[in-house]
């Protein structure tokens, strides 16, 4: 079948970022300088810089700066050092993976590969099945591939039969993907479970390079990095300029590239590349045993998944008993009868279901939190740095927005309703890493202040600081410059600009998710479309467009006012806020361009 991604089949994933002790030392030194300079700057901001004539503006901005600085501390802790788990030889038998206590049932390992699908093209799923069947292993073990079809499609069943793999379905869609996985777990028995989405295509090396981690009996799951092999590569600047402006354009583009290195126009328009998230953020959480599961491309020890199920089951029964106890206590005004409690437990046990994956939009993070919380078992989570599968990226802004909203809403829902930061059982490092995740989504609030601040100055000539003099720049510039350099070394080998502006520009999605969670609205589970949707999506980026237009208009207004001599504008203030506004406009423009993006004929196939 002719898919748009057929032409990308030969692409190979990048190797994990090499670890250099020297680079890490430079990063750590600069990071300490950054935090010290930041503390100095903020101390001055709070004590000596506020514009007392405009506290309505000065206070929100300084609070936003403080929140962002706290996020920077968390991010620094996250990136502090690389500590990979050692790769170990793939085990052959169960006794090699269960520790000394449980080695009585010694037999070859068995693995279930789950491919969850709902409404994706059957031929797309067929590709995933074929790649799953091609997974190799150096020992004779039992590997079974299962299609988990929540769409109950005869056509999907036929594909499964043609490919010789097991077909699993159910008569309802309770719990969506989590329910689908639970249903499959009830019908299978492999020691390890590989979770794949419909478009997840495992590499042959997936098992031989990951099952070795399970030689440590405390390892609950291994998450492998996601890699989107269909990202548009864009066009070299010199070629793009040559196409637009002829020979002169090509020469200018070539000259710019000679100075700054290769520049590509139209590359990864949605900033989907997850390398920063997996190869830097998640990988460095190994040092805190705090990498979390991201669903597709993860390998789970069945015992650990069942542990989560039993724990949730027990908690639900205990909770029900507590409820019953309080109801009874209210009625009789004396201590609850033990027999009544036993009855409540029994009733709850009948009513509750054993649920390996919590029915939640972020069931994978939930599962990780429950595992990390167990103080007796001390489960470990591993981020394996090598890419072991390929996937398709969201191909339009609607799909992208749905995916980001699910991530943001799911994470914030956990933060507000089951906060692991204050829950029992987690280590300090794990708490801080979960807080880092949640804080990053809360960042939309202070990002909005940073986006509005230059507009306020340019429209009103009211500055949030007492003056843009040497005092301000003496403290702000060293902090900002060292921050840029520190982050460059902290993410050495990755181009960070797009990630930074994408984070900034996606503030409406995070705010929308935050608003939904605060109002206790259920975060819905729409399946992310795997094929390209038609149309332009400017309606999805109206907040970014409004900010761009507002910033530009405010700059024109301020420049005119300065020229005509009204208001309290200064040239320095105009330049400083104009550049700040320009930075914001460039950041927002990424999302607007994404809304208008269309694949070239070549990319569309």
């Amino acid at each position: 079948m002719d898919f748009y991604f057929n032409r990308f089949e030969d692409r190979r994933p990048p190797e994990p970022l090499p670890h250099s002790r020297l680079i890490e030392l430079i990063w750590q030194t600069l990071a300490l300088m950054m935090l010290l300079l930041g503390a100095r700057y903020l101390l001055w901001r709070w004590t000596d810089s506020l514009n007392w004539d405009a506290l309505w503006f000065a206070i929100p901005l300084v609070i936003a700066e403080t929140c962002a600085y706290f996020g920077l501390i968390l991010f620094t802790l996250n990136l502090w050092k690389v500590k990979d788990y050692p790769l170990r030889a793939p085990p052959a038998r169960t006794s090699e993976c269960v520790g000394s206590a449980g080695s009585e049932d010694d037999r070859p390992i068995s693995v279930d590969i789950f491919i969850a699908t709902y409404n994706e093209d059957e031929e797309l799923v067929r590709l995933s099945i074929r790649d799953a069947k091609a997974v190799r292993y150096p020992h004779p073990i039992d590997v079974k591939v299962h299609i988990l079809d929540d769409g109950r499609r005869d056509t999907m069943r036929a594909v499964a039969e043609e490919e010789g793999v097991n077909y699993i379905s159910r008569d309802n869609n309770v719990g969506f993907k989590a329910g689908n996985l639970r249903n499959a777990m009830e019908q299978t028995s492999g020691d390890f479970i590989v979770i794949c989405d419909a478009d997840t295509r495992p590499f042959p090396t997936m098992l031989e390079r990951t099952l070795g981690y399970f030689r440590d009996p405390d390892v609950a799951f291994v998450q492998t990095p996601h890699w989107f092999y269909d990202l548009p590569e864009g066009e070299r600047l010199k070629d793009w300029m040559g196409r637009k402006f002829g020979g002169v354009g090509s020469a200018v583009g070539g000259a710019v590239e000679r100075i700054f290195g290769e520049i590509r126009i139209g590359e990864d328009p949605f900033v989907n590349d997850p390398q920063l998230f997996f190869d830097v953020i998640q990988r460095r959480r190994n040092a805190y045993n705090a990498a979390f599961c991201c669903g597709a491309g993860s390998i789970h020890r069945r015992e650990a998944v069942m542990f989560v199920a039993l724990r949730a089951y027990a908690d639900a029964i205990a909770h029900a008993t507590g409820d019953a106890k309080s109801r009874i206590a209210k009625l009789v005004r004396r201590r609850a009868d033990p027999a009544a409690q036993a009855l409540a437990r029994w009733q709850a046990a009948q009513a509750e279901e054993l649920t390996p994956y919590k029915f939640h939009v972020s069931e994978d993070i939930y599962t990780t939190i429950v595992l990390h919380q167990d103080r007796e078992r001390r489960w470990k989570s591993v981020l394996h740095p090598h890419v072991e599968s390929k996937m398709l990226s969201p191909q339009d802004l609607l799909s992208w927005s749905i995916q980001r909203f699910k991530y943001a809403g799911g994470s914030l829902d956990i933060f507000f309703h089951d906060n692991p930061v204050t829950a029992k059982g987690l280590s300090l490092g794990q708490r801080l890493m979960y807080l880092t995740t949640f804080w990053s989504y809360m960042g939309a609030l202070w990002n909005l202040v940073f986006l509005l601040a230059p507009i306020v100055y340019l429209m009103t000539s009211v500055a949030p600081v007492s003056a843009y003099t040497g005092d301000f720049f003496d403290r702000a510039l060293p902090f900002l410059i060292v921050t840029e350099l520190a982050i460059m070394f902290g993410t050495w080998g990755i181009s960070g600009y797009k990630g930074k502006v994408s984070y900034m520009a996606s503030f409406p999605i995070s705010l929308q998710a935050l608003w939904a969670v605060v109002r206790k609205q259920k975060i819905k589970f729409p399946v992310t479309p795997k094929d390209r949707q038609d149309g332009h999506y400017l309606h999805l980026v109206w907040p970014q467009l409004a900010l761009m237009i507002g910033t530009f208009a405010a700059f024109c207004w301020a420049a005119t006012a300065l020229w005509l001599g009204f208001g309290n504008y200064t040239l320095g203030g105009l330049i400083a806020n104009g550049l700040w506004g320009l930075n914001n406009i460039l950041g927002m423009s990424i999302m607007v361009r994404a809304a208008l993006w269309r694949p070239t004929e070549e990319e569309a196939g």
């Binding site: 680079i23 005092d471 040239l571």
Partner: protein
């Protein structure tokens, strides 16, 4: 990864640092000149300039 490639991939940070340094210096000079014209005296260059003479 060699240094050249590392700096190439991190060029946005280098560019931003350079813009901050250059633009910051220009704005400081402008604002200080404006302050000098308004007040008739030079603005303090550093924190120590603000201290009383006995503490310097």
């Amino acid at each position: 990864m060699n240094w050249k490639e590392g700096f190439r991939r991190g060029r946005s940070h280098l560019l931003m640092a350079a813009i901050l340094a250059i633009a910051g210096s220009i704005v400081v000079r402008m604002e200080d000149d404006a302050l000098r014209q308004e007040t008739g005296k030079a603005p303090p260059q550093s924190i120590t300039d603000k201290l009383p003479a006995s503490l310097k």
